[in-house]
Every structure is written in structure tokens, then in C-alpha cells.
Symmetry: C2
Subunit: 189 residues, 2 copies
DNA sequence: CAAATCGTCTACCATTTGGTAAGTGGCAAC
DNA sequence: GTTGCCACTTACCAAATGGTAGACGATTTG
């Protein structure tokens, strides 16, 4: 049910999704959905909450699996790409949230904030250690985040450069993006 | 009228925008809009067409204003940021289009394709000349595009790192992003 | 067994939506 | 001056939407 709603929110948008549609996709009636989530907004909140928690879990696991420095960056990017293939709607939801704005975005940000802050801290430490080129860690994180999520969610941009997202392309994309980030982040090649 | 519709499509989404709403914002009735554009989809197409052409014009002008190599990249990024400040809905529309998918995205891509191809060509020549690090030009363009548009359109991501897009932040962001791209693209610092 | 709770359904309802039909006033052309 | 076009309006409409009310069977609980 939440999965069906996620998928619908991502590819038709929240406003463009009808409860009847989600209900049909799930095999129940609209009223069953309303029974569980009170309102369409309630459904959205449940979807976002689940997505944010999964995202946090996955990213934290990636960070924990690698040693500080470039390895962690690589682990996170790999994890993001894996997620984009395994559960494409997760990153897509972030896109939709960014259009919905407050208060829905606050719900997601609140869950993700600790991870974000830790990421900024890790980048700053890496800069202090001389692992990374020195600059504003927040902006570096932002640019990297946008590049990664954009690349895996913007199918039209992909089409624009004559590609479409299958597994082979995803691997190539990940490789290229890691090269890109490595060059941008590391002091020396 | 087109401006009001653009703004509405960007911040409420196409499905979330009502003709009555656009009409009210414009000071006419819904039927006047339908008179000029036949249908809601017609309005969307007009909006996208205008946006795509403006974008092409602006970006082509930026490319033409600089000499091949890094200067052109910088000019395009500067132009994109200027556009993000002057007409924020333009880049926002690209986001909405990427969610709408075909056939609306085809309309935009068709207009932008020549510019995209020229950009890829320019990157490849820069690589051949040794100005840029060698790699797949399409993927480099894609990553750069996603980073730039993401940074200027994703206000939630900005909020996530504790910023919000005013002019001062935009300048800092542009500076940081140019540093980022320079490091990623150029062979040597 | 009786009572209550739960998940789901059928039946509605008010509102909003995109779109059609039929005018109306102004203005140019003949 | 009347004819015809143009931008725009008022008056509707059918369909879809989010949401409410109430019934029905199954399961749990005392």
C-alpha cells in the first residue's frame, strides 16, 4: 500500500495522484486507505516517513561500512546508486518533497538532519586532515547531493544526452560520477 | 498569463494547478485561457515552448560570449545562475518536465537538443585539446547539469544544509560550484 | 456465548475540475 | 451602417476527487 502510494506520488506527483488510483493499484477501496491514514495527507506523511527512515538507515550503514575520508564518500555514492536501482521511488520522493515544501519537507529533513550534519562534520574533518580540498563543506555536500540525485532521478536529462537508465548505464554513471567527485574533492590526483 | 502559468506549474505542479487559479492570478476567466490555448495541455505546451526557447537563447548567448575551453563553461554556469535569480521558474520548469515525461519532455528536448549536442562537442574538443580531463563528455555534461540545476532549484536540499537561496548565497554557491567544476574538469590546477 | 473491536465494503455527498455553448461589446472593413 | 471578427464573459455540465456515514462479517476478549 505504501509502496503503491510512493510509486504513484513519484511518477504522477502528490496532487496528480488520486486515492482511487492508489486503491485500485492496491486492490482495496479508497475508504480502506482513509481508514488507515485518515486523509490523503496522512498517507503522504506515512510514505515520507517510511522513505526518510529507510534513506537514513541505508546511508548511515554505508558511512559506517567505510573508513573516514574518500572511502566513505565512495561508499555513500555506491549506496545511493544501489538504492536508485533497487528502490527508485525513494530518491524520486525527495524530488517530490522538494516541490511540496513545508511542512512535508520538514518531516523528511528532521529525520535526515542528523545524517546531514554528520556528513558535513566528516567533510570538514577530511578537509582539516588534508584529505579533501578546503572549502565550504555545506556547499560541497549540496553540490554532490544534487549531482548524484539528479543523475539517477532525472530521466529526461539522461535522454537529453542520449542515454536511458538501465543497469549498465547506471554502473557507467556511477563510475563517471565518482571520477568527477574524486577530482573535485581530492587535493592531488 | 504564460508567466502566471509557469509560476503555478513550478510551485504546485501541472496536476496541482487549476485553470481557475491561473485565471484568477491573471485577472481573466478560465474560459479566456481556454480560448487562447484550447486546453490545459495547450497551456502547458505554450509555457514549455516559451521556456525552452528562452533557455536556448540564454545559454547560446553565454557560449558565444566566451572563448572555447574553461571560459565557456564558466560563462554557461554564470548564465544559469543569473537565470535562476532573474527567472527562477525557468529552471524549475525543467524539473517539472522531467516528472511529466513524454510527450511534454520531447517538446523541450527537441528545442534544446542542438545546444546539448554542441555542448557535448565542445567538451570533447576540450578533452582532445587537453584542456579538460578525458572522459565521457555526455556524462560530464549530465553531472554538471544536475549539479547546477539541483543547487538552484532544490530549496529543500538547501534548507537541509542550513541555507536559503538569496542573492548572497547564490553568489557563494556559484563560486563554490565553479571551484568544484574546475577541479573536476581541468587536468591540472 | 456475548460483546466489542477491527478491517473492509457500499452508498453518498459537496466541491472542484477541465471543458462546452452561447452570448456580448468593441472595432475594423466594406 | 451593417457585417464579421475578436477577446472575453456568463451559464452550464459531466466527471472525478477527498471525505463521511453506516453496515457487514470476522476475530478477539471477557
Amino acid at each position: 500500500m505504501i509502496e503503491a502510494a510512493s510509486a504513484a506520488f513519484v511518477d504522477r506527483g502528490f496532487a496528480g495522484t488520486s486515492l482511487d488510483g492508489v486503491a485500485r493499484a492496491t486492490g482495496v477501496t479508497k475508504q480502506t486507505i482513509l481508514y488507515h491514514f485518515q486523509s490523503k495527507n496522512g498517507l503522504l506523511e506515512a510514505v515520507l516517513s517510511e522513505a526518510a527512515q529507510t534513506l537514513r538507515y541505508e546511508l548511515d550503514a554505508a558511512v559506517a561500512s567505510a573508513s573516514p575520508g574518500w572511502d566513505q564518500v565512495e561508499a555513500v555514492v555506491r549506496s545511493a546508486f544501489a538504492l536508485a536501482v533497487r528502490r527508485p521511488e525513494l530518491l524520486g520522493l525527495l524530488r517530490e518533497v522538494s516541490r511540496l515544501g513545508s511542512p512535508q519537507s520538514d518531516l523528511v529533513l528532521e529525520v535526515l538532519k542528523p545524517s546531514i550534519d554528520r556528513a558535513i562534520g566528516a567533510l570538514e574533518q577530511g578537509m582539516a586532515r588534508g584529505d579533501f580540498r578546503s572549502s565550504d563543506a555545506r556547499l560541497v555536500l549540496l553540490s554532490s547531493y544534487c549531482a548524484v540525485t539528479g543523475v539517477v532521478t532525472d530521466s529526461v536529462a539522461l535522454k537529453g544526452v542520449g542515454l536511458s537508465l538501465d543497469l549498465r548505464v547506471a554502473v557507467k554513471l556511477r563510475h563517471s560520477l565518482l571520477d568527477f567527485l574524486r577530482a573535485a574533492l581530492l587535493e592531488t590526483l
